[in-house]
């Protein structure tokens, strides 16, 4: 089933594509020569040992790397046909269209409602209405829709106006996903979204990611190979060689687990089986 899906998607033009990408922090190269096409609607999992540049790679895709001092990116990233590494890119707009979820849930210290309404108003995604009341109503509809989408509505509908920090870790992470979704992005970048959650909450987020496919393209970093096997269409394996991160293999989930071509991949996935 997964092979069919990826076979269908690989022949079309990729939605997001890194070409000969290299990132360095000062003099130190975090990863180099990474070329990776990501097809529209797929879940691409990135796996590999700690420090091989997975997070650094992800942060290039929505230009969060701009915020790190002395961080330098070379190469090209094409998104819908334009190179987003060009200095003319509107990064605020880019980050609206490519959302990001972090390892540790990071809702703002505001109410659940405000967490969602703030980005919505900032990007002017709700059409201005004839009255303030109608405007608020429109915001409410968007909030309810997105909370239903992440399966949080029933749990928080009676506490929309109390602090988001009072939610459980799993609920906070789903709120953060909702906060990204409310901006109607095309791509979601998830950096180990489940690693701070307990197994049950983690399963809920996993299920949510599957439900969001193929409406959104998702790139997810995970240290949990079993999870990658469950949710990913394709898997990219990063590795450190000569102190630099590298993409050593990319393929369908089935191929990576059953017929890896690179010996490091073979060792990695067989170690992960136990």
């Amino acid at each position: 089933m997964t092979t069919m899906m990826s076979a269908a998607t690989t022949c079309t033009q990729p939605l997001l594509e890194a070409k000969h990408l290299q990132l360095s922090y000062g003099q130190q190269v975090a990863f180099h020569d990474v070329s990776l096409p990501i097809a529209s609607g797929e879940i691409m999992a990135i796996v590999g040992p700690s420090g091989c540049g997975k997070s650094s790679f992800l942060s290039c895709l929505n230009r969060m790397s701009d915020l790190v001092p002395h961080c330098h990116v070379q190469g090209e990233i094409h998104f819908n046909g334009t190179n987003i590494l060009s200095p003319r890119t509107d990064t605020l707009l880019l980050r609206r269209r490519i959302g990001m979820i972090f390892q540790k849930p990071n809702p703002f210290p505001l109410s659940v409602w405000e967490n969602l309404a703030l980005p919505l108003r900032e990007h002017g995604l709700v059409k201005s209405q004839t009255s303030r009341r109608a405007f608020r109503q429109a915001i409410h509809q968007a909030i309810e829709a997105v909370l239903r989408d992440v399966g949080l509505w029933e749990e928080v509908k009676n506490r929309l106006h109390s602090s988001a920090l009072a939610l459980s870790g799993g609920q906070q992470q789903r709120l953060c996903i909702a906060r990204a979704l409310i901006l109607q992005p095309e791509v979601l970048l998830l950096d180990e979204p489940c690693s701070a959650l307990d197994p049950l909450a983690s399963a809920v987020v996993e299920e949510l990611m599957l439900r969001l496919r193929p409406r959104y393209t998702q790139v997810v970093i995970t240290h949990n190979l079993a999870q990658a096997k469950r949710i990913a269409d394709r898997i990219a394996v990063f590795w450190v060689q000569q102190h630099k991160g590298q993409l050593i293999e990319v393929g369908s989930t089935q191929q990576i687990f059953n017929a890896p071509t690179h010996e490091l991949t073979a060792a990695y996935v067989s170690g992960g089986k136990g």
């Binding site: 929505n62 969060m64 915020l67 001092p69 990064t91 605020l92 707009l93 880019l94 980050r95 609206r96 959302g99 990001m100 972090f102 540790k104 990071n106 809702p107 703002f108 210290p109 505001l110 703030l118 980005p119 900032e122 990007h123 953060c176 906060r179 990204a180 901006l183």
Partner: protein, 285 residues
């Protein structure tokens, strides 16, 4: 069985000693505070009446009230805060949010501020007198005193505010950036509201120092004890009035205690007000 051997016993004994020492320190500090407060209340409370708050002083302060000093004090504090708050917040923001790329400049500014915060207030008084009163020609005036106080509390205000801003978790900034929020929105809707506890701490410390100040004011706002007619007029702050009554006026001790009690109450009220305002701001945004 070896658990209750000698090492265990010595450790518990040490623990108990430490606990006792801490309790004793807390009690000593608490008693000291209560003693001071008790002395002021015992001496001053009998003197306080509505007339004391609303009347002008007579007979060098032995009789009458403290109304002009209250007005002068509030005016001086007002000038001081009107200058120091925006400047302090601005500088703190610059230090905490924007010097990331220029670490050396940040360190230099911070070290200078820490040094300035420790400069005795009499030095600020002399500086204020030379600069504001003479060079700028403000003379002995509320304005001159307020400006001098602003210089004095600024370092403290900047450093506490900066610490408050730094205490905001970086994950908030990251989350905001990842949502494509502008820097302005991030600052006003997320960072500043989250930094409110630190901002209040800075404000409370700054106001406390300004209200209690005498040395910096003697040479700048003066000690004329009638109502100031404008910001350019001289006015006697409450703290100077207390100093004058207890040092220069025989038989002024009770009135000094009463004025001190009013000053303490004023400080308490202003702190509560600041806290309430800031809290409302944090909740409303």
């Amino acid at each position: 069985m070896s658990i209750s051997q000698r090492p265990g016993l010595t450790v518990t004994a040490l623990d108990r000693l430490l606990g006792f020492a801490m309790a004793a320190t807390v009690i000593a500090v608490g008693l000291g505070f209560c003693w001071i407060l008790g002395a002021i209340v015992a001496q001053g409370l009998g003197q306080i009446s509505l007339a004391f708050l609303l009347a002008e002083p007579s007979n060098a302060g032995r009789e009458g009230g403290i109304a002009p000093m209250l007005v002068s004090t509030l005016l001086i504090l007002g000038v001081c805060l009107a200058i120091a708050l925006p400047l302090g917040l601005g500088t703190a923001l610059l230090l905490a949010e924007f010097t990331i790329t220029d670490q050396r400049l940040g360190r230099l500014v911070r070290r200078s501020l820490d040094f300035l915060a420790g400069v005795p207030s009499i030095v600020f008084g002399l500086f204020g007198n030379a600069f504001f009163s003479q060079v700028l020609g403000l003379g002995f005036s509320i304005l001159s005193g307020g400006l001098t106080l602003a210089c004095m509390v600024l370092p403290l205000l900047i450093r506490t505010t900066e610490e408050g801003l730094r205490a905001v978790p970086p994950s908030y900034r990251q989350g905001a950036a990842a949502l494509g929020l502008s820097q302005t929105t991030t600052l006003f809707k997320i960072i500043l509201p989250a930094a409110v506890p630190g901002l209040i701490a800075g404000l409370v410390l700054g106001m406390g120092r300004a209200l209690a100040e005498t040395a910096a004011l003697i040479f700048t706002s003066g000690y004329v004890d009638r109502f100031p007619r404008s910001l350019m007029d001289s006015g006697r702050a409450l703290s100077i009035h207390i100093f004058d009554l207890s040092m220069n006026i025989p038989g002024g001790d009770a009135r000094a205690a009463a004025s001190a009690l009013v000053l303490l109450t004023l400080l308490l009220l202003l702190n509560l007000l600041a806290g309430a305002l800031a809290q409302r701001w944090a909740n409303s945004s």
